[in-house]
């Protein structure tokens, strides 16, 4: 993804909060992109292999876009170095994206939860006062639209299926990862400042819109969300606290790169 290299004026007070926002977005997409790519060759039908692989590529591209913004506007290192040489505790992805792919029901539900949130985020961010982000968000939004077509189609077909096992599996997958999904909206450092400057809203605004949109998506599928008031959100990811699943994935992601970080691969 080519982002025109222009330094855009950023208020000093906004630099740190913006760094937090962009790193969270970049890390979420990077890690989930890797997870989705693990379906390559293993999907329940060939068409699903191809779909997950395609979404994974988009997400990797989105991650690259966010890391590039960090590099160009906020003095972060080159995207490759930034993405593939940090310690686990320096990652700020939410824990939802770290979990292994599990079975198809888990991965499909996660894909729905994540892309629904990503779509809403990009919709708002495409109007951001931080113009380079607005441009990138506009581009990503167009791609996420197709991810949502896919997620909705599959979730509704399985939810409406006359097969009881499929319906039960989907409902269980929703129930089990709902706390993780709410963790996508963990409050960010300095989010209030960005909200006031119309750069990005606070996370709870996104969460409320997400809950509303999710209810609408599931309406008529026979599936439903658990009562959000009774589910504890799984926070910590944004502050560097991760599941046991992240470190092994990071080791794998950087295995070749670490053989010789100075070499060109």
């Amino acid at each position: 993804m080519n982002i025109p290299h222009k330094s855009f004026p950023i208020d000093d007070a906004h630099r740190e909060p913006l760094r937090h926002l962009l790193t969270a977005l970049a890390d979420d997409h990077l890690i989930l992109g890797h997870r989705h790519s693990e379906w390559t060759g293993l999907g329940p039908i060939l068409e699903e292999d191809i779909a997950f692989s395609s979404i994974a590529q988009d997400q990797m591209g989105h991650a690259l876009g966010f890391y590039s913004l960090l590099h160009e506007h906020l003095d972060a290192p080159d995207p490759d170095i930034h993405a593939f040489t940090r310690q686990e505790t320096d990652f700020s992805c939410c824990q939802l994206v770290e979990w292994p792919i599990g079975d198809y029901d888990f991965s499909l539900t996660r894909h729905l939860f994540f892309d629904l949130a990503a779509g809403l985020r990009m919709e708002t961010l495409s109007l951001s006062n931080f113009k380079p982000l607005a441009q990138l968000a506009t581009k990503i939004r167009g791609e996420v639209k197709y991810h949502m077509f896919h997620a909705k189609t599959m979730v509704s077909q399985l939810g409406k299926s006359s097969d009881e096992t499929a319906r039960a599996r989907m409902q269980t997958a929703i129930n089990r990862q709902f706390g993780l999904a709410l963790g996508m909206f963990e409050p960010r450092v300095g989010e209030q400042l960005l909200d006031e400057a119309n750069i990005a809203p606070i996370e709870s605004k996104w969460r409320d819109r997400w809950l509303e949109a999710l209810n609408a998506v599931l309406d008529g599928t026979g599936l439903h969300i658990p009562d959000p008031e009774r589910i504890e959100p799984v926070y910590g990811g944004r502050r560097g606290y991760h599941t046991e699943y992240l470190q092994p994935l990071l080791n794998e992601m950087t295995e070749v790169f670490r053989l010789d970080p100075q070499a060109e691969w």
Binding site: H34, S37, E38, T40, G41, L42, G43, P44, I45, L46, E47, E48, D49, I50, S53, S54, A56, Q57, M60, G61, A63, L64, P79, D80, A83, F84, D103, Y104, Q157, L158, K160, S161, S162, D163, T165, A166, R169, L249, E252, M253, E255, V256, F257, L259, D260, Q262, A263, E264, W265
Partner: protein, 328 residues
Amino acid sequence: MYGGGYIPKEETRKTVVNDDPDMLAAFEARVARGEKVEPRDWMPTEYRRQLIRMIEQHAHSEIIGALPEGTWITRAPGFRRKLALMAKVQDEVGHAQLLYSAAETLGKPREAMINDLINGKSKYSNVFNYPAKTWADVAVIGFLIDAAAIVNQVANSKGSYGPYCRALERICYEESFHLKQGHSVFVYLATGTPLQRSMLQDALNRWWKPIMHFFGPSDEMSEHTLTLMRWKVKMATNDDMRQQFLSLYVPKIQELGLSLPDAELRKDADSGKWLFGDPDWAEFFAVIRGNGPCNAERLAVRKAAEVNGAWVRKALQQADARYVTPLA
């Protein structure tokens, strides 16, 4: 990738069906004129059977071939390589989808083909029964095995069966990008640090034998082979395709200062043909019989994917359970 040039001989021949001689003569005349055969056209029983086997094995090779490379997607160094490898392996799975569809036009459903694959009845290219141990293996597979597959597929795309040819044309178009991807990784390693070069040389040493096996042993010029060539099911002999591959790619490997693990490999000035040592055909046949380093693993992974995904397929099929017979 990945259509292996070699379609193993069947252990037992099926009953010979005698086709209507007039229809057969008309069919052969059409093929000789260069016309394409389409799914609803009359075709000899043996033509249909051989094509199903060939296209099915090609499709299986694509999905099994996605496994050794697929494990390197998460490990690929840096965004550029990751994105390219993801796109490449996704293409391969897409090729399987195209090819299964082409084979289905001949009357065998995809489910039946996949069942035959996981039960070991139907084969796939031997080359995927070898492990991809390092990142340099991704370079060798992407560059040389894709190149070998292109030699085979370009030949087959000029065959007589319309749906297969059209699928192959599209596949070859995508393969040419895979070759670029493989070549780029290959060149970076070949011209990189001593560690990178030694990784690549090691990968090349390990893969050379399976690459020489790729097109299969010399064809027996039997009546059967001649018939398949006349029907434009088989478009070139295994030896011809291997020679074409060696002529195109050995110089490219040598230019990069890499060696090949065959002391007898050289181009004969008089005949213009490549001479090479015995590539161990005994090993080739052992791998076909299921005794290669990764046969069991590859099939186990494929089987696990089928079993784990069975509930999804079942549920999707039942989505239309409330079928209503149309009026009239």
